[in-house]
């Protein structure tokens, strides 16, 4: 049974998420403060951690926790679930090694979908890829089971949200995806500018591997389009 840790200082939200996850068959451990969670993690690592950034008195307690947890394990999936939605926090959280950064607007079904996807990714990372689960578009390869992407055979380290956005763009080549479509395919409820900054981050990640990358085309007023190389 998968074991999920929820570190959240608001008791009602914590219990609500815990109930939902338990119903999905996960084992859930809840913690209200950073120290309490770390003590438990030292004894036993969870299979996945959902962490709030502001923890009781500690404004950035979640960031500290993420750093410490990442130091203990390279692979434990960490999801930030927070009320803070500034780009700055999002970038900081993802840099610390979190696998996803979600705001509290997200509905429970969306959250569950993400958690399930992350577990699926862990499951298939060890097994060899099956052919039908791989989507290839020129130099881009998307492994739909592992939820990983590679460009010219080099892995692009995308978060879950980013992966789903790329997938949505390349699924039907040439189609323009507007922001709303991208959001719903990424199981995300955010505003337009968040989509813009996600796309910007995706571009940067590809450009880090290939400086000449320009496959994502902005169609002003409509959305984005994946250009075939």
């Amino acid at each position: 049974m998968r074991r999920i840790a929820i570190v959240e200082d608001n008791e009602v939200i914590r219990e609500n998420y815990a109930d939902a996850l338990r119903r999905q068959g996960y084992e859930v451990a809840v913690y209200g403060a950073r120290e309490e969670a770390m003590r438990a993690f030292r004894t036993r690592l969870p299979d996945l951690a959902v962490v709030d950034i502001g923890l009781a008195d500690e404004v950035d307690g979640g960031f500290t926790l993420c750093r410490e947890l990442r130091a203990m394990s390279e692979t434990v999936p960490i999801i930030f679930l927070t009320a803070r939605d500034s780009d700055f926090d999002m970038v900081a959280g993802l840099r610390l090694g979190a696998d996803d950064y979600l705001t509290k607007d997200i509905s429970l079904p969306h959250l569950l979908a993400r958690i399930a996807a992350l577990f699926r990714r862990i499951d298939v990372l060890s097994s060899p890829p099956k052919h039908d689960d791989v989507l290839t578009r020129g130099p881009l390869t998307l492994d739909l089971k592992r939820l990983t992407a590679s460009w010219n055979s080099r892995t692009v380290d995308l978060t879950l949200t980013e992966f789903w956005m790329v997938h949505s763009l390349v699924k039907f080549l040439g189609h323009v995806k507007n922001r709303d479509q991208l959001m719903s395919e990424a199981n995300l409820v955010v505003d337009d500018s968040t989509v813009t900054s996600h796309v910007k981050r995706i571009r940067k990640k590809f450009a880090a591997i290939d400086p000449a990358f320009d496959a994502i085309d902005t169609v002003y007023g409509m959305g984005y389009r994946w250009k075939e190389g």
Partner: protein, 561 residues
Amino acid sequence: MAIRHGLSIRTKLLLATLVLGLIPFVGFEYVREMENFLRAGQEQTIIAAARAAALALHDRPRLLELRTSRPRVPSPDQAGTGDALHEPDSVTVGTSETALGDRPPRRGSDEALAEIELIIKAMGRRYSRIWVVDQQRQLLAVAGSLRRNLAQDPLIPPPAEGWWGTIESTVLRPLYTRLLAPPSEDFDDALPETVLSGGKEVERALTGIPASRRRHTSDFRATVLSAAHPIWSGDEVVGAVVVEETTNAVLSLRNRAFEHLLTVTLAAFLLGAGALAIFASRLSGRLTRLRDEAESAIDARGRVQHLVQGSNAGDEIGDLSRSFSTVLERLAQYNTYLERMADRLSHELRTPIAVVSSSLDNLRQKNLEPDTSVYIDRAEDGLKRLNTVLTRMREATRLEQIMREVDRERFDLAQVVSGCVGGYTSAFPKHRFSISVPQQPVWLFGSADLVAQLLDKVVENAVDFSPPGESIEITLLLRDGDAALSVANVGPPLPETMQGQLFESMISVRDHAKDGKSTPHLGLGLFMVRLIAEFHRARVLATNRSDGKGVVISVVFPQAM
């Protein structure tokens, strides 16, 4: 600019200078007093002169006895009133035919008459006429003249020289002449028979009582003051001495005093009024500038500027300026607070919303009766609305963050506009879009994404206001190095008062009661337009269409080189 009603400070102060008008009034009273005093003095003087002359002739029976034996002269009513003695230029003796007219010649008294003549001549005063009558009202001798020789009068100053003389002779003199009517020396100085024989003062003097009287010359051009004194010979009145003078000397003295007074008060008035006018102009000028500054202190974008005018002045205007500045500062803080409010509010609300939504999601997982799920649907609906509000509120603050981080680059506005409009056609199928964009690229420096977002907001706004089926006109024009992007829609015109505020946070002209649309409006859309426009150093204008049928929102971007 506010329209001022009533009088300006300048006008009021100028009206206040009219108080200076009291000065000539007081002076006028003073001169009148002086005139009365002078008149009284003149009267006393000529009474004294008459007495002196009479005394000189006292108890000189030889001189006047001759007369007593003479036959009576014709009574005054027998003599024609106009038949008067015309005074000769020089002292004359009563024997002259012309001088005495039809009176009987006074024989054998030449010596006596000459002596009287000598005496009264010695008594003579300048500009006065002395004459002597006997009991029969016979004129015995006359000396002196009533007319003044103005050229030699030391009381009349010579005309001034130089510029002052010019002003005096061309401006003041004619004015004074008109106002004061200077005494005329051109009067009829004839000694009428009525005066000679019927004058009250002569009558009384001949009964032994000194008397004086005032009369007009026969042509009414001058007033003559005359004093008569009896000449005694023992206990008997043998004749009377009459001294006459015109009041012209007093009048001209009074006139000169008036002239002086008028000149001085005129000068004082002009000086005072001038000083007050300068003061008033300065004062109202400063106040006007302060008002203009205060009016423009909050610019069209709601930013508050500091007041400069009079901020260092130590007087009340300085105080006013400083307290204005304080008030504006507080207003600015309040504005900032309001703008931040949206951010804080959305942040604070997010946790309780998460509580509600996660609870609802959990509830839905339970096996519910169908009628219960209706309520969950409704709750979720409300929650969704609440989330939309929060998302919109966040959008504005997020935008400010993005603009701090975004990289500026050169982009083609024409391409962005065409692309966006292509998207709108599918996004808003109920409306038609007409677009006019120049063929050549329109280069801007900034962020294409942000400009696209700006256009989104403006078009959303236009769509919300225009009835379905109407056309929305999107125009991009090149104009003196500027790129003017305008979106015109048919719909209700802007209220006059809102035109400047439209682009401020939380300002909305939507009629909430009427539009029952499900999407909530916070007035942040056009606020974001303003933010993005400012980021590109563009100006935003919301005006009513020239045909009055709708609104045009235009953004004027400076073009990149």
